[in-house]
Amino acid sequence: MPAADRETVERALVFDARGLTKVYAMGDVPVHALRGIDFDLRASEFVVLLGPSGSGKSTLLNILGGLDTPTAGQVLYEGEDLARADDAALTEYRRRHVGFVFQFYNLSPSLTARENVALVTEIADDPMAPDEALRLVGLEHRLDHFPAQLSGGEQQRVAIARAIAKRPAVLLCDEPTGALDITTGIVVLEAIARVNDELGTATVVITHNAAIAAMADRVVRLADGRIAGVERHESRQRAAELVW
């Protein structure tokens, strides 16, 4: 889709976060992970969060994903404030609306690729078939392999299939290529981009690899718990074209 068209379409707001603050107590010392961040995300948008370690990007992603709650501020998702949701509501939110991809894949080693995806489809409302999700990430020939029989990139693609099989509104990826080499990383990023394109899933990817930023509609840089800068891309690069 040309960039101009994308701009003109008034896309629905998925997240509307205002004044997000997160303070951890490390012993007696309070650590400010987020210092009042405003962040929004629109449907089918692809956002990359860039920043050094400790900049607060993981904390932001965790809060958006309902894994953590902010100390102050609000996160509106479909009009509900996640900052005030209880544990059961957050579980329900993750179950229905969020897909996660972790740096270390976090697959169940005792389940095959298909079964790992089924783990999610079994509890989702309107999931795609596990086989279909795995086909989307190019693993239709590895359905019955256990994680130990898959390469790192393949494992991460299973994780992506597992994340998108529930047709989530938002896909959150924490350093999805952090443990992978370039070639494999590109295949994984292609899978993410494809999901974003074909399913229109709003996607947030954390990375400290600036090269990946070229894939995004928007790049948000974090530093020391604050937003240090935002850049919008008129056109997105394909993963295969990335140079890093």
Binding site: D68, L119, A124
Partner: protein, 792 residues
């Protein structure tokens, strides 16, 4: 998507369990051991109880029993008129000496009368083989199956009995069982001896005429109306029988056979709950440790599941199912083993207790309870581990597990570690890092030691009891009982019997001892002032002389009556002139023999107003003259019976040996399972936590032996600590059991000898060594490259 199928999560459960199958099996085995005992004891309890109830009901076992000297038959009508009484059965019952073909020693027989026509109203017998006696033939008897089988008799065979001075040939017409003699024991003995004691039923007329009981009876049984009070009936019965030499009626519960059976049932029930509880507690602990480790390994997966939208409840239930699956497997295995052992146990009971059919049965109740207890133990063990896992925040999925925290620790600050090699330091630090877990492992292994020690010590104690009773207390070779008390001249006659070297008189007087509302019917034993043959010993083997005046009570009896030396008890003599006297308690003796009351023989004679009568004698005899003595005694009408110590001892040991073998095997097997389960699990958990570290050491150049030392050293330390702890635990447990299960028959002093401790330690060490070796094999196959590739 609602098709019925195995969910991915359940598939994960099965595969994860399979991956830890060694540990799962070890835990399931410990549970199975507990469940097996529960099922074995309680199913036997139920089988015995069911059989007993039905048998008593069908054969109309009486509610009240009484014996007396002699009453005219017309008294029966007055007994029947007691308001509580529904039915009365009068009988003639006498004890005689038997001469059994092919058996040199004299045996004892009890003859009971059968009504002239029809079956007995109460205490009916079950005809097993042969036929009912022909009323026209006075020499025909029905014989107890136990006696007949012990001698290999068949209907038509004969035994001779010395009946009122005349030798009578009795023809066994039929073989029977009686609800009164489910457990039949010769009065004064500790264990049944079916070769030397037989019960016979014969026509009333024949028996009565031989013993001058025509138109009279010396034994009566009552059946009470439903809901009637046995106490009231007994009081009324005692009043009516008193003029006729009544010896005090007893309720069914105190009838010897019923009472023994009740004691056994009580014991089955208590053992059935106590022992399995120990096993299940250990299993719960082992499960806790194993699961905690397994869940620690799955930390990232748990967080991921939660991040993916699984609720705390779903995650918790998933991991709880691990425990429940292991417990179910353990319970099923345990139930199967329990049924098998229960069948073997009922076989033993069938030798002791004579029922028409005592069949083994496992009820749904016991099976379900076994399953329920295992599942409960599993939940208890898993709860903490699962709760900890569920508390892991989903954001943890993003982070690797933090490294374990180590401290310098106590041992180090004490400067102890500096002298130890590095491997030893690692062992000590690892134990110090999780002191609670180390302590629980020690407690787990110690409980195996405790159970073993109790078993071994019990065998020891039985042996000690036998030695004390048969070698130190009973120094006579033969105990001779007269039919009726006799004057002192009878002793001279006894002294002239062939081979008799030494004679010591004894006077046994049936009496009821009463203090306030507490009372016990028993026999007061009169012994010479300083007994040299039948001595009264305390548990330490110290002999007690007879007090100059007053009673010497066994401490069990003193407790039962709640009296102390210096107190006064009322002695109601139940024979002769039946005087009632207040007698001082001169002393108590801490002995092994249940309820006993002793007096100096002359003082006892004075108490009953008879002078120096004797009811029997203890003899030291020349072994060479045994046959002559036996032959002579069999022909003596005044002698009711001869108890030969060696024969008693032999039969006691034979019976005991059978039980002991089964007990030892079960004990060693089950306690071994506990020790193995705990040590193996500790080893596997340790290996899992430290495989990375150990593999790193291998890469650095450590040999297999060196890294094995680190892991196995830890187990050795745990086992070493557990050995003395197990001994202490066992002594405590044994003491508890000895106090808790003391019956009024005899008590087994708990004393753990050094060999018992040594065997316990050796068994525990062996079980630990086996589990250590099983884990050592895994160390040999440590994949260095793969281990190092794992992150965190």
């Amino acid at each position: 998507m609602t098709r019925l199928r195995v969910t991915a999560l359940d598939r994960k459960l099965l595969r994860d369990l399979w991956a830890m199958k060694g540990q799962a099996a070890a835990i399931a085995l410990v549970m199975a051991a507990g469940v097996a005992m529960f099922v074995m004891y309680l199913s036997n309890f139920e089988s015995l109880r069911r059989t007993q109830t039905a048998y008593y009901e069908q054969q109309r076992l009486a509610d009240v029993f009484a014996s007396l000297k002699r009453a005219p038959e017309r008294l029966a009508a007055r007994l029947a008129a007691i308001p509580e009484v529904a039915a009365v059965e009068t009988r003639v019952v006498v004890d005689v000496t038997l001469d059994v073909p092919g058996f040199t020693e004299p045996a004892s027989g009890r003859l009971l009368s059968l009504p002239a026509a029809g079956r007995p109203i109460l205490n009916d017998v079950v005809l097993r083989r042969g036929r009912w006696i022909d009323p026209a033939r006075p020499d025909e008897v029905l014989a107890s199956e136990a006696f007949v089988d012990a001698h290999g008799f068949v209907p038509g065979d004969t035994v001779s009995a010395l009946i009122n001075g005349r030798r009578r040939r009795l023809v066994i017409a039929g073989v029977v069982l009686s609800p009164e003699y489910v457990y039949s024991i010769r009065p004064g003995e500790m264990i049944p001896d079916n070769r030397r004691f037989g019960v016979f039923w014969m026509a009333r007329r024949a028996l009565a005429s031989a013993f001058d009981m025509e138109g009279g009876f010396n034994d009566v049984s009552l059946r009470l109306r439903p809901g009637a009070s046995p106490e009231a009936a007994i009081a009324a019965l005692d009043r009516l029988l008193e003029p006729y030499g009544g010896r005090g009626a007893i309720p069914r519960a105190q009838q010897a056979s019923v009472w023994t059976l009740e004691n056994e049932l009580m014991q089955l029930q208590s053992f059935g709950f106590v022992t399995p509880a120990i096993f299940l507690a250990v299993a719960a602990f082992v499960l806790n440790v194993a699961l905690a480790r397994a869940l620690a390994l799955q930390r990232a997966q748990i967080a991921a599941l939660k991040a993916l939208g699984y609720s705390n409840g779903e995650v918790g239930w998933h991991y709880l199912k691990w425990a429940l699956a292991i417990a179910s497997a353990g319970a099923l295995l345990g139930i199967a083993a329990g049924v098998w052992l229960g069948g073997a146990m009922i076989g033993l009971y069938n030798e002791y207790f004579k029922f028409p059919s005592l069949d083994y049965g496992l009820s749904w109740r016991v099976g379900l309870a076994a399953l329920g207890f295992s599942l409960a133990a599993a939940v208890l063990g898993a709860r903490a581990a699962v709760a900890r896992a569920v508390r892991i925040p989903p954001a943890e999925a993003m982070r690797p597990e933090p490294p374990a925290r180590y401290h310098t620790g106590l041992a180090a600050s004490a400067g102890l570690l500096r002298r130890l090699p590095h491997a030893a330091r690692m062992i000590v630090r690892n134990l110090e890092r999780q002191p609670a877990r180390a302590a629980m492992s020690v407690a787990g292994i110690a409980s195996a030691g405790g159970i073993l020690l109790v078993g071994f010590a019990f065998i020891d104690a039985m042996d000690r009891l036998i030695t004390q009773q048969f070698e130190e207390a009973l120094r006579q070779d033969v105990t001779l009982a007269f039919v009726e008390p006799r004057g002192p001249s009878a002793l001279h006659a006894v002294a002239r019997l062939p081979g008799v070297l030494q004679v010591e008189p004894v006077r046994i007087v049936p009496a009821r001892l009463r203090v306030g509302h507490r009372s016990r019917p028993l026999a007061v034993t009169g012994l010479v002032a300083e007994p040299r043959l039948n001595r009264v010993l305390d548990l330490d083997g110290r002999p007690y002389p007879m007090p100059v005046s007053g009673l010497l009570l066994s401490s069990l009896l003193a407790t039962a009556l709640d009296v102390r030396p210096g107190d006064v008890v009322q002695v109601e003599v139940l024979e002769g002139r039946r005087p009632v006297r207040q007698v001082l308690v001169a002393g108590t003796v801490e002995d092994a023999m249940g309820l006993q009351a002793y007096m100096e023989i002359e003082a006892l004679g004075a108490l009953i107003g008879e002078g120096s009568t004797v009811s029997g004698a203890y003899l030291l005899v020349d072994e060479a003259a045994n046959d002559a003595l036996h032959a002579r005694v069999k022909a003596l009408p005044v002698v009711a019976g001869l108890a030969i110590k060696q024969a008693m001892l032999r039969s006691f040991r034979e019976t005991l040996a059978e039980n002991m073998d089964l007990m030892i095997v079960m004990n060693v097997l089950f306690a071994g399972i506990i020790a193995f389960g705990v040590v193996y699990n500790a080893a596997r958990v340790s290996l899992s936590e430290r495989s990375h570290e150990l593999a790193s050491l291998r890469v650095l150049g450590f040999t297999r032996t060196e890294i094995s030392m680190i892991l196995l050293g830890e187990l050795a330390v745990l086992t070493t600590l557990a050995l003395p702890a197990g001994s202490v635990l066992g002594v405590g447990l044994g003491w508890l059991i000895a106090t808790g299960f003391t019956s009024e028959v005899f008590r087994i002093p708990f004393m753990a000898s050094w060999p018992a401790h040594a065997w316990t330690w050796l068994t525990v060490i062996a079980a630990a060594a086996v589990s250590g070796l099983a884990v050592r094999r895994r160390l040999d196959h440590l994949d260095l490259v793969a281990v190092l590739k794992l992150q965190g």
